[in-house]
């Protein structure tokens, strides 16, 4: 069956970081940036509204957040309103659902906002909240949060494939260097491998600079059906393909440790739908929640052979001038990771890259872009493939 073509026609984000701002302040700031990105766009154009967000119920004692965010952004939905959550991949999940809703013909113009306010007065309380992410009854009772989860993944990958601590550190060095050129990034100072080693040990083998930070931030994009695209922009990016696959939430049932088979499924479906191969991707934003993640993602996305992710970063093949520029916006490690906003921020970075608006972090001649967003114990994987031209 023929599917309606859909494009991202506008996008903007708040500054990411430890912000002196409320949840709603962040949404307002990102909304402003989104409206400013497409001068023809007004709140009245928006028919549907999805909000991607994870834990406002705990972080800011607020639920029913989609109507609140729509109201904040001046939007009165007439065709769709809901909040979407898939932990760290909430943003990409919301984009996919909006895409499906437009592709089906049920709406033409949908705004997708993502937001998370993670800093609370007591940092320990924020960390405590993250226990809710794993299987609370069977995993979180042991204290399991993200850093030890991915530390154990790293242990297995190092054992099975000889990945080194230096290779992990190089991911952080690259992404911090890229983020230094991204105005919205939380961290804007390049670092060295030695500084990664010197940063606090969090969970062996991961040091603090192997980990993405806690972040406040919001990001907003607008998707439109093909016949509406020109009303808003001359610089859309088109959804060519998407894939998503899940493997559960309990750590014991994770399908793979050094291998991430569910990422392979999601990638295969996305590539097939887009009619492209891994080597066609010019630029990618992938989910570097921890340095080990990006290395495994090189492999499972097919950018290199299985087990050669460490070598891939070492040889500069994910850097400018390499095979595919990965995380030019700084990734989660440098831009920061406000859970619900990350997938949306990835899309915005791709829109800027495909239209030459990425300033001194511009990837030359980028035409095809991929975003990868994961959640849980690396069990759920969500992929979007965008093209500068309609397909």
């Amino acid at each position: 069956m023929e599917i309606r073509r859909v494009a991202v026609v506008a996008g903007g984000a708040s500054k990411f970081g430890a912000r002196q701002a409320t949840y709603r302040d962040l949404i307002s700031e990102a909304g402003k940036a989104c409206y400013d990105s497409a001068p023809g766009l007004s709140p009245n154009d928006i028919e549907g509204f999805l909000l991607s967000t994870v834990m406002p119920e705990r972080f800011v004692f607020q639920t029913h957040v989609a109507p609140l965010a729509a109201e904040t952004l001046g939007v009165t939905p007439s065709k769709l309103v809901a909040r979407v959550e898939l932990l760290c991949a909430s943003g990409s999940s919301a984009i996919r659902l909006a895409y499906g809703f437009i592709a089906s013909g049920l709406a033409d113009v949908i705004m997708v906002a993502g937001a998370e306010k993670m800093y609370t007065p007591n940092p320990a309380e924020t960390v405590h909240h993250t226990l809710a992410a794993g299987d609370r009854e069977w995993d979180a009772i042991h204290g399991l949060t993200a850093p030890p989860s991915f530390a154990m993944v790293a242990q297995r990958h190092m054992k099975e494939y000889g990945t080194t601590k230096e290779q992990l550190a190089l991911v952080s060095v690259k992404n911090r260097r890229n983020g230094a050129r991204n105005p919205i990034a939380q961290f804007r100072k390049p670092i060295t491998v030695e500084e990664v080693y010197a940063s606090k040990l969090v969970a062996k083998p991961l040091n603090l600079f192997d980990c993405c930070p806690i972040t406040d931030g919001a990001a907003v994009i607008v998707l439109a059906a093909e016949h509406r695209v020109k009303d808003f922009t001359n610089e859309p990016i088109w959804i060519w393909g998407t894939g998503q696959a899940g493997g559960g939430n309990n750590a014991a049932n994770v399908p793979g440790w050094a291998e991430w088979p569910r990422l392979r499924v999601a990638a295969k479906n996305a590539y097939q739908m887009a009619g492209v191969a891994p080597e066609d991707i010019d630029v990618a934003e992938v989910h570097d929640c921890f340095t080990i993640s990006e290395i495994i993602e090189y492999e499972e996305l097919g950018f290199c052979a299985k087990g050669e992710g460490g070598k891939f970063i070492e040889e500069g093949r994910s850097d400018y001038g390499g095979q595919v520029v990965v995380n030019p916006g700084g990734g989660l490690i440098s831009r920061g990771h406000p859970f619900g906003a990350t997938g949306i921020a990835q899309a915005i970075e791709m829109k800027q890259q495909l239209h030459g608006h990425a300033g001194d972090r511009q990837v030359p001649n980028a035409e095809i872009a991929l975003t990868h967003n994961l959640s849980g114990f690396a069990t759920e994987h969500t992929i979007m493939i965008y093209g500068r031209e309609p397909k």
């Binding site: 002196q20 302040d25 307002s28 700031e29 402003k32 709140p43 004692f61 109201e71 001046g74 007591n122």
Partner: protein
């Protein structure tokens, strides 16, 4: 195993009142003004739109520039009720609430204080009251009370 969390004197997760200080909230001036007994909101300097609640983004013209203006101290009840069972534990019964309407047409949900059921009447005139939020931070919350004949 320790249980430090339950020893915390302040638990943000359980706190219904917002953080009001400048380092936490772009609308901190609302609370600063309220502390001085003034009820304020934002006015868009681009299109003049006056919203409630105050906003950092104008829903009308998407400008993010605004100034603070004072709202009238008095309003009239548009609808009201008294809750006598099932109120959340940080509140007490009877809990009086009203939607009040200002002369300019703006409406606002509010608690009613210094009141009885006899005052619960659509059209009744009420005026601003400022309450202190108990707890470790210095915070305020607005409310309204019936205007009494002087």
């Amino acid at each position: 195993m320790s249980e430090r969390m339950s020893e915390q004197p302040y638990i943000n997760t359980m706190d219904v009142y917002p953080l009001e200080a400048a380092e936490q909230n772009k609308l901190y001036k609302f609370y600063d003004s309220l502390r001085e007994g003034r009820l304020t909101t934002t006015k868009c300097t681009s299109c003049g739109h006056i919203p409630w609640p105050p906003r950092t983004l104008c829903p009308n013209c998407t400008s993010d520039e605004f100034e603070w203006i004072d709202l009238p101290r008095k309003a009239r009840i548009y609808s009201c009720t008294v809750q006598t069972a099932g109120v959340p534990p940080v509140f007490e019964i009877p809990l009086y609430m009203a939607m009040v309407e200002f002369d300019n047409g703006l409406r606002m949900l509010t608690r009613l204080v210094e009141t009885t059921e006899d005052d619960l009447e659509i059209g009744r005139e009420v005026e601003l009251a400022v309450l202190e939020v108990p707890g470790p931070m210095s915070r305020v919350v607005h409310a309204f009370k019936p205007v009494r004949g002087n």
